[in-house]
Symmetry: C2
Subunit: 259 residues, 2 copies
Amino acid sequence: MNERVVYCVSDHTGVTVEAVAKSVLSQFPSIEFSLIALPFVDSAPKVAEAAAQIAATPGALVFSTLTDPALRARLRDSGASLFDVFELIAPPVETALGQAATPAGGRIHGMANDYEARMDAVNFALNLDDGLNPGRLGQADLILVGVSRVGKTPSALYLALQYGLRAANYPLTPDDLAQAQLPAVLLDHLPRLRALTLSPERLAAIRQARYPDSRYASLAQCREEIAAAERLFARHGLVALDTTRMSVEEIAARLRTRP
Amino acid sequence: MNERVVYCVSDHTGVTVEAVAKSVLSQFPSIEFSLIALPFVDSAPKVAEAAAQIAATPGALVFSTLTDPALRARLRDSGASLFDVFELIAPPVETALGQAATPAGGRIHGMANDYEARMDAVNFALNLDDGLNPGRLGQADLILVGVSRVGKTPSALYLALQYGLRAANYPLTPDDLAQAQLPAVLLDHLPRLRALTLSPERLAAIRQARYPDSRYASLAQCREEIAAAERLFARHGLVALDTTRMSVEEIAARLRTRP
């Protein structure tokens, strides 16, 4: 059998269990997996419904993050192979800590402060998107800088949503690129600048998708802009992150840790 | 010991291992954990550096997602308690699938198509934020609707970044709320509307943070707007999602699955 249905069952959003399932299953490249998410399975009736759906799927695998052992046991009754993150990882952690896990603890999802900080960061990223409100750059944790379509906006939003960081982004326009140094408004903030670059070929492909056959999307123009941007970065000792083969998660994770 | 340092070591972004560590550790509420992220540990020199840092931290716990067993073994040499997601979860999956995991497989992170789709979705969410470009609502997967500050924009961006869904958002203004039905521009898209609501008290607190002592942020105004919005939703048979106590992840996960 080279195809398998995989259920990701969680008593909350399922973001963690889906990430774990995808990571582990990527180590079985000869099998094609179809993932079905079943989030918010947090009561006996809901778990019974999930178990019935699973039992009707031959050869299904089930990854789960269910904090309540009783719900987990009920899911196992479906007869499917069940891999519960808590069940597999908590026991060695219990041994290391010398104390038993409290299953109910996993249900407490800290929200208030974290939520406010991240929403504030999202609003900040939107208010300082694409060079808007440069007078507020001093409030930014990070300032992403690079040419148009290098990936600044999605990266800034991801930094805000995932990490609660206040990320501004500032585009280098052709006018900026013609100068000998970075725009004056950025020079006060050099330690917080994060330079982004990518291959001219990839940039041209991204721009072509939006403005086909334009000068803006031409390979010649992309080459010129990238070369000029990299000269400016070097002028100020900024090491640019090459995002050519990176996902937005990877860009954000690298920008977050890189000085 | 009621405090522990926890390292989250990954050969990629570390998003998965941080999520797993937080989930599992939330089941030990009497211990205070400080998390240190060490992403992109993908070579022998980098793992040696991480191991040295860990060895210098008494009582450290280490959660990891390292696909290369040799790097994992080197990390274990640090003497710390190591919980590797692959090591703990892959073996039962191997048994269920009847084949061995290919550690290198985990290094392949599908990017191209997924990346394009998500970036396209982010641009869509930005272009159709706050009622912009209503002529394009027909292209949306979901249309979030609700009063100002109910959480539409962050939820739409998260749906785009996490799930690649094209989520528009449309604010119900006081003018809209004074009508007997939803704005005409939304009526063609009823099956894709997702109504959001929250408690007037929470809405007032969110608005107060931005516009203190304004009529806009007053509890009376918030009560009136929420009541009017809920009447409109009921008029069209829309069940509103109450986001009062929800994180943005939870809002997005619920909107994604709810019809």
